[in-house]
């Protein structure tokens, strides 16, 4: 007891003390923390009301009880005792723990043990404060979860993400970006200036300037080079974030690999080009045939007039010979431009291929080795066997010619692949269920990549002028395209080339069992009439008949005729002449309630939403679709 109070009178001092006690008790009891004092024997000597409340009991019940009584032996031994003992050695101990109290249940707490020395210098007691940090912990956990969520969100996105400082130094990259850059460790990108990965460094500076002006900007396609120095076309957009002082803080870039997009675009462009050349060449070939017919006719007349075996008749025969040569050229052009109807029948691919190989082998140079491997030999496609023979022969002849000088190996493989798996390889909106894949691989001269895209153009040849017409591959392309197939090429100069021919396997589909006698009509609205063929093949023998329209006038004509009204409408979004809006208004005006299947590109959703809203759409498919998906959709829609 402090002596100075004694002089002022014991009574006053006691009053003062009781006053002080009330105040300190108030403070202690109103604290939101559980506060207690325990002695060296692990017995509670004092606790506050918060402590009692949490244990749903009163002070007297707890005071005098040991910690084991209150918390149980296990908790005491495992988590409390060691901390108390540490504290008793003179240290303040602070730790987080999750435990249960009768009132609050299981919660997170921060526990602090402070050593106390009452009277002597020895530590006789501990002051225990237990703060409820459950809410804090919860929000902390929520933040962690959110962070985790965001992290998986950004890492699983197929879009590359880069954060740079305002100078362009990379701070963060996501996994997609690592994939694009073909690198395994983000350390090879972080701290490097993004500029280094631009094909044109100047472009990067320009884009940064644009970002400072605009904050957000799409830069369209930009060529990046990855760690392997491979050029990658990417779609890049940037966002500039400002700090509190409105100064650039960092820049986020979204990077989308558009290699495939570019490839498809090029292929589309290429096929459009071929289509145009085809139409042009086909038109010329057609007129040419008229001229040739005239020359041939007059030659025949001359031959009639001239004595046989005369010098003059020999000359006329030369004219006739030339006409026949010219005719073979025009007929090739017509095949290339797909203006000759092929008589298609069910053909076993391996039979034709075997026949061709036999033919080629008979004249195979000694320095060339021919290997072949077939699987699923019975597979048939719908084709003109002569044309198919021509395709195989041409490809093998080309391969052999490219190896003529140095010799090599020609490998021919035939296998069947699932259409679904190669959906994205093929430049098609509708993909057949299965394709026969024929591979013609040589070890010859190969081609420069820049030539690959051009070899199907008619009159394009890599041989010397005068050798070959340059029509061969364009004719092959015409035949394969006519069969709804596709040709892909990979080639390396001096290594050789591989030609991949995909031909749709022809099948009779039994799941659509319509009435064969009275065929029901399915209307296809499409801008690409070639798409309709593979679909009409698929519907063959099913009791459904496919009619197709590509313009408004015909659509109204077909829909207006009630007796001819289709059972089902399939709308492909490539139909430029009939927009989705048109379709909705036509349907409204004619009060058409026919079920509709919608086939669209992913990026056209907004437009088609209008049709979806109009309620007639039963099924919505995204390109490229497989025939199987279409058949399923038809089945469901017609139920």
């Amino acid at each position: 007891m402090d002596k100075k109070y004694i002089y002022k009178g014991e009574k006053n001092y006691l009053k003062y003390l009781s006053h002080e006690k009330i105040i300190s008790d108030e403070i202690i009891n109103h604290s939101r923390s559980m506060i207690s004092i325990i002695n060296r024997d692990y017995v509670y000597e004092k606790v506050n009301s918060t402590f009692c409340n949490a244990h749903q009991t009163v002070l007297d019940v707890i005071v005098g009880k040991s910690l084991v009584d209150i918390w149980g032996k296990d908790v005491f031994e495992n988590s409390i005792k060691k901390n108390i003992d540490l504290c008793l050695s003179g240290k303040t101990v602070r730790y987080e723990a999750c435990f249960k109290t009768p009132k609050l249940g299981k919660r997170y707490f921060e526990v602090v043990f402070r050593p106390l020395s009452i009277d002597s210098g020895e530590i006789t007691h501990l002051l225990v404060e237990t703060f409820d940090i459950n809410d804090l912990k919860r929000s902390e956990q929520a933040v962690i979860e959110k962070e985790e969520e965001l992290r998986t969100f950004e890492t699983n996105l197929p879009i590359g993400y880069i954060r740079c400082d305002p100078a362009g130094k990379i701070l963060l990259v996501n996994k997609a970006m690592l994939r694009i850059m073909e690198c395994h460790d983000e350390r090879s990108l972080v701290n490097v200036n993004l500029k280094c990965f631009y094909q044109e460094e100047g472009l990067f500076d320009m884009q940064m300037e644009q970002l400072i002006d605009n904050n957000t900007k799409s830069f369209g396609r930009v060529s990046l080079k990855n760690l392997k120095s491979k050029e990658i076309p990417c779609r890049i957009s940037g966002f500039l974030a400002l700090d509190k002082n409105k100064k650039p803080a960092f820049i986020d870039f979204a990077v989308e690999d558009s290699t495939r997009e570019l490839m498809l675009e090029n292929r589309l462009l290429q096929s459009q080009k071929l289509e145009t050349i085809g139409a042009l060449a086909g038109g010329i070939a057609h007129d040419f045939n008229n001229i040739l017919a005239t020359i041939l006719g007059y030659s025949d007349m001359l031959l009639d007039d001239l004595p046989k075996d005369s010098a003059l008749s020999k000359k006329v025969n030369k004219i006739k010979g030339a006409v026949i040569k010219a005719n073979s050229l025009t007929s090739q052009i017509l095949t290339f431009s797909r203006q000759v109807e092929q008589e298609k029948i069910q053909v076993s691919v391996s039979e034709v291929l075997k026949e061709t190989i036999g033919f080629v082998k008979s004249a195979l140079p000694d320095n060339i080795n021919l290997k072949s491997r077939f699987s699923q030999k019975g597979t048939t496609v719908l084709a003109d066997p002569t044309q198919l023979f021509r395709v195989f022969l041409n490809l093998m002849t080309n391969a052999i010619q490219s190896m003529e000088e140095k010799g090599g190996i020609l490998t021919v493989n035939m296998t069947v692949v699932d259409g679904k798996l190669i959906q994205h390889e093929l430049n098609k909106d509708i993909v057949a269920d299965e394709y026969v894949l024929l591979t013609f691989k040589d070890t010859g001269k190969g081609m420069d990549p820049s030539l690959i895209s051009r070899i199907f153009e008619p009159f394009f040849t890599t041989r010397e002028v005068g050798k070959g017409t340059g029509l061969g591959l364009s004719v092959i392309h015409g035949i394969v395209t006519e069969m709804e197939g596709e040709i892909l090429i990979s080639s390396l100069p001096e290594k050789g080339s591989v030609f991949y021919i995909y031909l749709p396997v022809s099948k009779v589909y039994t799941e659509l069992n319509g009435n064969q006698e009275k065929k029901k009509k399915i209307l296809l609205i499409t801008g690409n009439k070639y798409e309709s063929r593979i679909l009409s093949l698929a519907l063959k023998n099913t009791g459904y008949e496919l009619i197709y329209v590509s313009d408004r006038r015909n659509l109204i004509k077909v829909l207006g005729c009630i007796s001819d009204c289709p059972e089902l409408i399939i709308y492909m979004s490539d139909s430029k002449q009939i927009q989705a809006e048109d379709l909705v208004s036509i349907f409204k005006n004619l009060k058409i309630k026919t079920p509709c299947i919608l086939i669209t590109d992913t990026n056209q959703e907004l437009l088609e939403e209008k049709i979806l809203i109009s309620g007639i759409v039963k099924q919505h498919l995204i390109k490229p679709v497989s025939l199987k998906e279409i058949r399923n959709a038809i089945q469901i829609s017609l139920k």
Binding site: G282, A285, H286, D287, F288, N289, N290, I291, L292, A293, T294, I295, L296, G297, Y298, D300, M301, D304, V323, N327, T330, S331, L334, S337, R338, Q339, V340, E341, K529, R533
Partner: protein, 126 residues
Amino acid sequence: MPGILLVEDDNDLREMLKASFIRRKYTVIEAENGKDAISHFKPLITDILVTDLIMPDEDGLKVIIKLKELKPTLKIIAISGGGKAGPGSYLNLAKALGADAIFSKPFSVNDLISKIEELLLTEQPV
């Protein structure tokens, strides 16, 4: 002599065919498009129709349908320089519509004339 209606839009080719038919002493009536052929058709003196298929102003298919209607016994030969793109080539369509023979350009005139002779032979009832 039997009469041939020759429909062909290519002048040179028509001239040539006309000349070769006349040499064989056929009567030739010529038209340079489908429309003329239909409007100037003389059933009594026409035994056989030789028509091109792709022509301006009514194509050969229309001519075949129309003239077959007017004279069901008419013999028909269709000639064409390779059908345009699309399902069903013109020549096959012509055959489906009742053409007795089809010739793809360029063809041998001698073959065409033999075909004409053959068709006209079956025409003559005893």
